[in-house]
């Protein structure tokens, strides 16, 4: 847990062992933090998936000590001076220990060099403003220049309304970088986790060569309440869940969290094998 140790020490909340226990929203079970991490942030009692923090995902995914973060310090300039947004950013920073809603860098996954982005819903629901858009764009550009595959762990409420049209345009900006990466013959694996919605689903979440989803993750374009209000229809059970998306042909694989790294490593290996 060296990465976790560094992270929690950096946000002065003590070592991972001193983290408060996590409480399951579904069954109420209290789980000691080290056990919680050892169990892939899944409730040992009822199997509910908690939303993973970027640092926890990183720890579970990359070879120890191999992660090199880029653009950590990038922050929003509040482009449309939206009311209360500057304060919201400050609050999100303090609450999450991050400067923005995505962590980017390079790492090895089972020995394979990879570019990596991990969104974190603890920062304003992982919504995409210009910083998230810029960081992911730069990551794809770097991966293209260095011939690296990209693995992206996605969780986001969509485009961030407090940056107005600037947020919307990030969808096009990132799409351009994904396209150039793809044209260079490089692999992009998108891992969709709970929730993946709105402008993120309508851009890079759906642009992976391979799209993996976590079980039961909410994945969709329109919000459920909006659909109910627009159509007056009651939504069917399991609507917009990972299993629904698999059934309708929009994701390749649903993978359990304990096997996620293994599956990603296998896919990376197949794409880097070069049998003559």
């Amino acid at each position: 847990m060296s990465g976790l140790k560094e992270f929690f020490t950096s946000i002065t909340k003590g070592a991972p062992e001193q983290q408060p226990p996590r409480v399951c929203k579904n069954c109420g079970a209290e789980i000691a933090y080290p056990d919680y991490v050892a169990n892939h942030c899944i409730c040992p009692e009822c199997g509910t998936y908690f939303r993973m923090r970027a640092v926890e995902r990183l720890e579970a995914t990359v070879d120890e000590g191999s992660f090199q973060e880029i653009d950590r310090k990038l922050k929003s300039k509040d482009p449309i001076k939206f009311p209360d947004y500057a304060q919201k950013l400050d609050k999100a920073e303090k609450a999450s220990g991050l400067n923005e809603g995505v962590v980017c860098g390079t790492a090895k996954i089972d020995g394979i060099d990879t570019a990596l982005f991990i969104m974190d819903s603890a920062f304003m629901m992982g919504s995409m403003g210009t910083v998230v858009g810029e960081k992911i764009t730069r990551l794809f550009e770097k991966a293209t220049a260095q011939n690296l595959p990209v693995v992206g762990f996605i969780t986001s409420g969509g485009a961030r309304m407090q940056e107005g049209i600037f947020s919307l345009m990030q969808m096009a900006k990132v799409s351009g970088a994904v396209k150039r990466h793809s044209e260079a013959g490089l692999l992009y694996i998108a891992v969709l986790t709970d929730p993946t919605t709105g402008g993120i689903t309508a851009s890079f979440a759906m642009q992976g060569d391979i799209i993996i989803a976590e079980p039961k993750a909410l994945i969709g374009f329109a919000g459920q309440r909006v659909i109910e209000q627009t159509t007056g229809e009651k939504l069917p059970a399991g609507f917009q869940r990972a299993e629904f998306q698999l059934e309708h042909g929009f994701v390749d694989i649903i993978e359990e969290r304990p096997r996620m790294t293994y599956t990603i490593a296998k896919l990376l290996a197949i794409h880097t094998s070069n049998v003559q």
Binding site: I80, A159, M161, I165, K173, T201, A222, H248
Partner: protein, 265 residues
């Protein structure tokens, strides 16, 4: 061009939504000669919220893709009030690919409150349909000009908005979220939409200042025909400029147009 600050952002929103405001079909009728409408996405169906086809702009063959909400109530039902289903975006992409094959410039007219929000739309991949358009339009090897003529509603508008030149009519708006949606999420009160509209900076002059669009076509004090002919002239000039560019330069310019949008430190 005088910027009329006396008109509030929300008044622009209301003007953009006005039921009598000309939409895509009007511009096709008054701008394109010998228009032939082409239907269907060759996957599932034909979405009447998007009208698409080929014709001439002056004497240049072009592909036109236009959102259309219809005039009569029957027509509006048929066209789903201008909110495209995934099939609409897939039809648009199919015809853009065809335009690329035959080296025809593409003109997109945008005016819709947004992509349709329904169970069926989700079942057929509304998110994927938009994502594919953004992705493919970024690499489409022929000029694309997008014109926001009405309400540019979020991702559903952007799905026809990846372009070399973006134009807005003066009273069109373009936003990440509707003012009502924004107000109800932030302040739990949709009646504060006029405030949200002002804060979202969604008018044509805002977007011109942000360099998200290259041109605003003046409307105030002009007739519909005058607006249409000024727009036609601008589109024609842009096509003449863009179509002689080598493909690589065209695509680098398009990439850069979006690449530079951001505000961070």
């Amino acid at each position: 061009m005088a910027k009329a600050d006396s008109i509030t952002a929300y008044e622009r929103v209301q003007a953009a939504r006005n039921g009598k405001r000309p939409m895509g079909s009007y511009y096709i009728e008054h701008m394109i000669d010998d228009f032939v409408e082409l239907h269907g996405d060759r996957r599932f169906g034909d979405d009447a919220a998007i009208v698409a086809g080929i014709g001439y702009l002056n004497r240049i063959p072009v592909t036109v893709i236009a959102m259309e909400r219809g005039e009569t109530i029957e027509e509006r039902m048929k066209r789903n009030f201008g909110c495209p289903e995934p099939e609409g975006y897939r039809k648009a992409l199919r015809l853009m690919k065809e335009a690329e094959k035959f080296h025809r410039p593409v003109i997109c007219f945008i005016g819709s409150s947004g992509a349709y929000c329904g169970i069926d739309a989700e079942e057929r991949g509304q998110g994927l349909a938009i994502a594919e358009n953004l992705y493919e339009m970024m690499g489409l090897k022929t000029p694309i000009i997008s014109v926001v003529v009405g309400e540019g509603g979020s991702g559903g508008a952007l799905a026809l908005g990846v372009c070399d030149t973006a134009v807005m009519l003066e009273n069109a708006v373009y936003s990440v979220i509707s003012p009502e949606g924004c107000a109800s999420i932030l302040w739990k009160d949709a009646t504060k939409a006029p405030d949200a509209a002002a804060h979202l900076k969604l008018t044509s002059y805002d977007l011109l200042k942000f360099e998200v669009v290259e041109k605003v076509i003046q409307e105030d004090g002009k007739t519909e025909r005058e607006i249409c002919s000024a727009l036609k002239k601008y589109i024609l000039d842009e096509i003449l400029r863009l179509r002689v560019l080598p493909t690589e330069e065209l695509l680098d310019g398009r990439y850069e147009k979006f690449r530079k949008i951001g505000a961070f430190r």
